[in-house]
Symmetry: C2
Subunit: 381 residues, 2 copies
Amino acid sequence: MATLGLTKPQRVVLFTEDDPLRLAGGRTLGPVEVAFETYGELSPERDNVVFVCHALTGDAHAAGEHPDDGRRGWWDNLIGPGKPVDTDRFFVVCPNLLGGCQGTTGPSSPNPETGHSYGRDFPILQMSDFVAVHRALLDHLGIERVMAAVGGSLGGMQVLQWAVEHPEQIEHAVVVAASARLSAQNIAFSAVAREAIMRDPDFQDGHYFESDKKPEIGLAIARMMAHITYLSDEAMTEKFGRRLQQGEEPGFRFGVDFQVESYLAHQGRSFLDRFDAMSYLYLTRVMDYYDPFADPDAVTRVAAGGTHFLVVSFDTDWRFSTSHSREIVRTLEHAGVPVSFREIRSPWGHDSFLLQPPGYHPTVQAFLDHADDCRAQRGGA
Amino acid sequence: MATLGLTKPQRVVLFTEDDPLRLAGGRTLGPVEVAFETYGELSPERDNVVFVCHALTGDAHAAGEHPDDGRRGWWDNLIGPGKPVDTDRFFVVCPNLLGGCQGTTGPSSPNPETGHSYGRDFPILQMSDFVAVHRALLDHLGIERVMAAVGGSLGGMQVLQWAVEHPEQIEHAVVVAASARLSAQNIAFSAVAREAIMRDPDFQDGHYFESDKKPEIGLAIARMMAHITYLSDEAMTEKFGRRLQQGEEPGFRFGVDFQVESYLAHQGRSFLDRFDAMSYLYLTRVMDYYDPFADPDAVTRVAAGGTHFLVVSFDTDWRFSTSHSREIVRTLEHAGVPVSFREIRSPWGHDSFLLQPPGYHPTVQAFLDHADDCRAQRGGA
């Protein structure tokens, strides 16, 4: 199948110090710069937009080949010519999210008041702050509505929040492996990850950016732990089992001996090159507090706005299990919101949303084809 | 129901420097001192012994009231007058295990060669080293065989190993919430815990005992993470849900806000007072490598020895799920070993083995009553 070629990373300043972003928590933030990529062509009617929201550690490079290092986008199997998010028909927009560390303003960005990185002075964010920035980016691109917003995990939560606040702007919402309300266990894993970062002596109360030390041990521990929760027990058994890294005989030693240990150590190490510990703190905390349906009017607003939903879960995902998706579906259905729901059989746990277990991509494709049909009918009417 | 009163902590040197313990890995260890407690009276025939093996962070104080601080034993609900492990009928022995830090020789004990704590010079242990010390303790007490050996989690693994090596010494084996072969996910959690400890700057390559710093951050992180795996998702939801520590309104801040965060922080902190990081490393590593049935003769030996088994699992235990117990049961049954198996419904996850979900204690009681009957019949013959 054809894939996208070289992509063109872009940046835009959407809010300035004089005209800052007003955050849900009451503070303001400016400047706000956003890194994003686009794929495909915007239709003359500007009605073929698919907005892609990334997960906790994703970035704007969702598809195609990065011009710097050639790496393919994190959702390259879903987005491209002839793929479910079909760049021959759709104009795809994917930004790095607010608070991140891959081009969009976050805790590592310079604080105009001090000239140094914000560090812990960066304001606490909420899910609707992500949406505000996404909307500003659309505005900048001259787009009023999106045919579809698509996201997995934290990306799905952004899509849900967007539909809760501005359903009139989202014709179709694809919410994959997400949650509208983290469980105590979900919060617990993130809490321990944050403890590992914040108690690292090199954390320096969040002001490590100007020093030559970073809380690398804490961030690696956080990442290793998170990786366990992204894979199912079955997937780990299939992928690693009890196989040893070298030879047949167990080494009876500390340090890496089993293959699964080597995998985790690698995941922890390589994460340090591409992710910032403060962004990890800020973004995980947004997820903990997220609870859109605590406001009983929220779902009524969605129902009035007319967004159609596709909610997808994976049967071995124990990070955001099917019960999380079912809760979203039940709440929406109860208010009369049109929802398609599909639990996909997949051995790969939470990571499944990035992979291609049978039935997953065809489900997304069918939903987006339907969205495209609606658009065509509207165009022809 | 009656409970045991004050208990009497005891210690005995079972191996000396001149007559050391020969470890499975080839090294020797001496002296080996063992802390233990006993409850009830040894019968004149010395045939009423129940040997209790503790889990990863347990100790010799399994039941009754500790004379120092009054705290009740960790299995006080199971062991006592009229309880399933009935101290009116049985003589109960519970030692702290080798490599531990609660009275029995471990990495924090003085190395006779240096006069300082062993630290990382302590030899790597294997499951059968625990059994060797248990057997030496029995020998010291003048006991040849035990009516039953009982253990949960790592305790159950010791019981299993004992039956694998010396089934003639164990008439009945009670193996609760255990595993004969850790999964990749099990190993992964322990690997990250060990990383947190070993990468703590205060770890000092395992020789922190003579300094005024200990890897407390690493050990607390390890404990917090482990605690998540001891509880089921459901149990955490019931126990904490998304409730906040104070008030109704979320604080939108880092640090402890949700009750589950407060619980984990407390678990991490209080663990530091009673457990040593090096013991944590050594004991978890024993579990990783444990794989008794990799030796195809092992189960044949059990079958020849005549040990009767009770294997118990809990349906929401995801640390050592029912599938781990089923593997033990299948392997034993296949070789013709008599096995009773019961999966208990319990919301509490792995922690269930320390609690009293319906059906659990009666199952253990019935098995031990049967063991007692066998004893009586033998006595009457």
